[in-house]
């Protein structure tokens, strides 16, 4: 099984090598990858439908409890078949749809990568690997949405989708970690037995909150739904595959997968019911006001995802059965409609439903597929959609107190969805054919056959539900409810209230289609509400955030050395100043101070005067000369206080520095004052504060006792160990000899630098 999952990644990684082949005739070979996988998963049906899950275990990072463990049960089987089955059709479809596209190889690469990630996601039994595959689907979706990377809108939509689903991914990571810690295992199977403990655990609310956010972002639930319409910028095969049939159902999968583990509590059910109900009605009503076929389908997809969340939230056996069936129903008709839209767009160049009409005359097979899908979507008997819709009403009707409200919401949603389906699957194909479309012709069979197959299945499963009842739906149901109940799905339930509701929906939908004609005018009315839609709020937040980040960076990272110095020193001064203000412990033991002599006082005064000269002098020469005087004064202080070596070093170095300064002084810039008086006062105040702070700190340190262990060691061992009488010298050349060598190296490097700077002759162009 691991080979099956990884095969997509292997193909994706080989794409760059085989790029020539794929762009040429070779691309027809690629669809056989998903086809092979589809056959592979079909072969497990007998086993899985008998209630035996297929487990495969590969140890990966056992120390962290992360294993590549895969489990194929009913729910995984349904998704795996959808992923590989629709994948096969989409791969074939792409062959014609993007024929001759310069980046066809890339496209197939991303698509294979996505397929593999999605398979990994639905087959993982380990929640950490589930998270990894989850993120991989987000990333491949990003690349596919931004596939037309020269279109700024495409790039923007891709980024938006990635940031929303990526955000959800982070929540998922936190959620699975918390879940793993609370349950003591990362295996979903083992978590199943911990169900009761988890539900009563203190972390329960956090876990479901984190998982919900992950699922809602991925499955485009309100208020995170807005990335999905944007994602329609991707080429149609992508919209079909990722954004209606498979990837967006990953969130649904997550919720369904954890229903037996975490579901059944009021928090779980009520949240899902509310979010699902809001999403399904909100998006369904939104779909009424779209003109773009893809836009209509995008909103109706969001609405369908809302229905699924809603059904999982209801959590009754009836509702879970309805959810299981509806996943399949929706995948079949929605993928068909998307593929049809792609064909229409490909052949006519427009997706505007107010322009399109009469296309059945030029592309009959496509029109048939579209009609079938629209009818299945409408829930008309004897289509599979009828069964799906019946089950939904059955789920909502017997709920007690809230039955009326919830059934009402379901009816409104279904009516709007029906309208949307007719708009996308019926309207473009009926009526008179406008002259501009007369030249339109039927595309290559690899394009029109896939939607026809999908739509045909929608009819077939409706007519003969027993085809899938035992083999697919029963195992899905079993893994959802985790018990032995046996289900029956059938087309005809007799005359009852559910049938009445179905007929009511059909009638209302047909009436709505009759009355409401899509137009620019209608669409523009909804634009007024865009200002407060979650999408524009997020975009506002984003631009605000970028603005803040720019301000922040610009303020602190402005590239001026002195501003960095001011910030650092100012902060330091405030911090230390505050500490000193709180409790300064200045204690000066005057007895311990050394006596003052007159020559010391004179030296200090000379020094203070030179410092002032250095700072305020208008002449470079004076400044440099006073700098020299400061150095010599320090030299004298060293001499007075028992540091002859220092005095000598200071003397020679200071002399050298001054000489160097004077030597190049006429090559140095004139001494100018650039700053304004205000700035100088500010800097002056800061400097004085900082100087005072250092002085106070020095006094503080002086009042502390000193540990002389190191000096005593050197003083005692200098002669005994190193045979030297000058302790400072012995430290430098003997005990710390290696440091001194490095120091010499530094000096040599500086000397080389100076030398090369002096010798450097720039070419005349560089001097300009």
């Amino acid at each position: 099984m691991i080979i099956a999952i990884l095969s997509g990644f292997i193909v994706a990684s080989m794409v760059p090598i085989l790029s020539k082949l794929i762009k040429g005739k070779g691309s027809i070979l690629l669809p056989f990858l998903p086809l092979g996988l589809f056959a592979y998963f079909i072969s497990f049906i007998p086993k899985v439908s008998n209630g035996i899950a297929v487990d495969r275990f590969y140890s990966w990072v056992p120390s962290f409890g992360i294993d590549l463990s895969f489990r194929l049960d009913g729910l995984s089987m349904l998704f795996a078949l959808l992923i590989t089955g629709i994948g096969t059709l989409v791969f074939f479809y792409t062959f014609s749809y993007l024929k001759g596209h310069p980046y066809l190889d890339r496209f197939y690469g991303y698509l294979s990568m996505f397929m593999a990630s999605m398979l990994g996601l639905v087959l993982s039994d380990n929640i950490i690997t589930l998270f990894i595959f989850w993120e991989l689907t987000s990333i491949s979706s990003f690349f596919l949405i931004g596939f037309n990377n020269d279109d700024p809108n495409s790039r923007k939509s891709a980024l938006l989708a990635l940031s929303i689903t990526g955000l959800g991914g982070l929540f998922l990571l936190a959620g699975v970690l918390l879940l793993g810690t609370s349950g003591g295992t990362y295996s979903i199977q083992d978590l199943l037995s911990q169900s009761e403990a988890l539900k009563s655990s203190a972390n329960y609310n956090w876990i479901i909150f984190l998982l919900f956010i992950a699922a809602f972002t991925k499955s485009a639930q309100f208020p995170f739904h807005f990335w999905l319409p944007g994602a329609m910028k991707a080429p149609t095969p992508v919209s079909t595959y990722l954004h209606s049939a498979t990837m967006v159902k990953a969130g649904i999968y997550l919720l369904a997968r954890f229903t037996p583990v975490l579901g059944g509590t009021p928090e779980w059910n009520n949240t899902l019911i509310i979010v699902g109900a809001v999403t399904m009605t909100y998006a369904a009503i939104h779909a009424l006001f779209r003109l773009d076929m893809k836009g209509i389908l995008a909103y109706s997809t969001i609405s369908a995802l809302g229905i699924l969340v809603f059904l999982i939230g209801l959590g009754t056996e009836q509702a879970l059965l309805a959810a299981g069936v509806f996943i399949l129903v929706h995948a079949l008709y929605k993928a068909t409609l998307f593929l049809v839209t792609g064909i229409v767009d490909h052949e006519t160049g427009t997706r505007d439903v107010s322009v399109l009409s009469g296309l059945r005359k030029v592309m009959m097979p496509v029109a048939i597929a579209a009609f079938l899908a629209a009818l299945s979507n409408a829930g008309a008997p004897p289509f599979f959609g009828f069964i799906g819709k019946d089950l939904i009403y059955e789920a909502t009707l017997y709920l007690g107190d809230w039955a009326y409200v919830l059934t009402g919401a379901a009816i409104v949603t279904n009516v709007c969805l029906l309208f949307a389906g007719l708009l996308a699957g019926y309207k473009p194909f009926v009526g008179a054919l406008p002259t501009q479309f007369e030249k339109v012709h039927l595309p290559h069979p690899t394009m029109w056959a896939p939607p026809l197959i999908l739509a045909g299945l929608g009819l077939l499963f409706g007519l003969i539900p027993s085809l899938i009842e035992k083999s697919i739906i029963q195992p899905v149901f079993t893994s959802l409810v985790n018990n032995e109940t046996v289900i029956h799905i059938k087309l005809w339930h007799g005359f009852n209230i559910v049938l009445g509701l179905s007929l009511l929906t059909l009638t209302l939908g047909a009436m709505l289609y009759w009355k409401l004609k899509p137009s620019e005018n209608l669409m523009s009315k909804t634009l007024r509400f865009e200002v407060i839609s979650p999408k524009s709020l997020v975009e506002k937040f984003r631009s605000l955030f970028i603005g803040l980040a720019q301000f922040w960076t610009g303020f602190f990272q402005n590239g001026y050395l002195r501003n960095y110095v001011i910030t650092i020193l100012g902060f330091l001064t405030l911090l230390l100043g505050y500490r000193l203000y709180q409790g300064v412990n200045l204690y000066i033991d005057f007895a311990s101070l050394t006596d003052l002599t007159i020559y010391e006082v004179i030296v200090v005064i000379i020094m203070a005067v030179s410092i002032i000269f250095t700072v305020f002098s208008k002449s470079r020469l004076v400044a440099v000369a006073s700098l020299g005087v400061i150095g010599y004064a320090i030299c004298l202080i060293f001499l007075f206080y028992s540091a002859p070596d220092l005095a000598m070093t200071q003397f020679s170095i200071d002399t050298l520095t001054v000489i160097l300064f004077v030597l190049v002084i006429y090559n140095l810039p004139k001494y100018k004052t650039f700053s304004s008086i205000g700035v100088r006062i500010r800097d002056g105040v800061l400097s004085i504060f900082f100087g005072t702070l250092i002085a106070i700190l020095t006094l503080e340190v002086l009042s502390e006792p000193l540990n002389r262990e190191t000096s005593i060691f050197y003083a005692e061992s200098a002669y005994l160990l190193a045979k030297g009488k000058n302790v400072v010298n012995v430290i430098l050349v003997d005990f710390r000899g290696f440091d001194t060598m490095v120091e010499i190296t530094v000096l040599v490097i500086a000397a080389i630098g100076v030398f090369s700077l002096l010798k450097l002759r720039l070419k005349s162009i560089e001097k300009e």
Binding site: I630, S642, A643, S675, D683, A715, E716, V727
Partner: protein, 118 residues
């Protein structure tokens, strides 16, 4: 004397920082030198100052026994003085070189060097 030296250190630090905050490159170097001197004095003072007792073992004995000036800060300062000379000389030559090419001493104008070569 310690009190005077403390004030001196404060003055050296303050003037060093003030000069570093100037826009002129030459003043920046002078600030650097002043700050370096201040740091040396600080280390020197914190090792406690002793008058007239250099850490040199006299010819008769084999180790320092009575009160003597601390040799460790002295060794540190000696290193610091030499290293800062390396830094200063390089900085002086660099400024000279930069001035020759850009014809400005204003640090604020130096952030446009990228455009000079365009």
């Amino acid at each position: 004397m310690e009190l005077l030296l403390v004030m001196l250190i404060g003055l050296l630090y303050a003037s060093g920082i003030y000069m570093m905050l100037r826009r002129s490159m030459v003043k920046l170097i002078i600030g650097l030198i002043l700050l370096g001197n201040g740091a040396n004095m600080l280390i020197f003072l914190l090792g406690r100052i002793v008058k007239g007792k250099p850490p040199i073992i006299d010819s008769a004995s084999k180790m320092l026994t009575e009160i003597y000036a601390d040799p460790v800060p002295q060794a540190l300062i000696l290193t610091a003085i030499v290293i800062s000379f390396g830094l200063q000389s390089f900085a002086i030559i660099l400024v000279k070189r930069a001035y020759k090419i850009t014809a400005t001493d204003d640090l604020d104008e130096l952030n446009t060097t990228d455009e000079i070569y365009e």
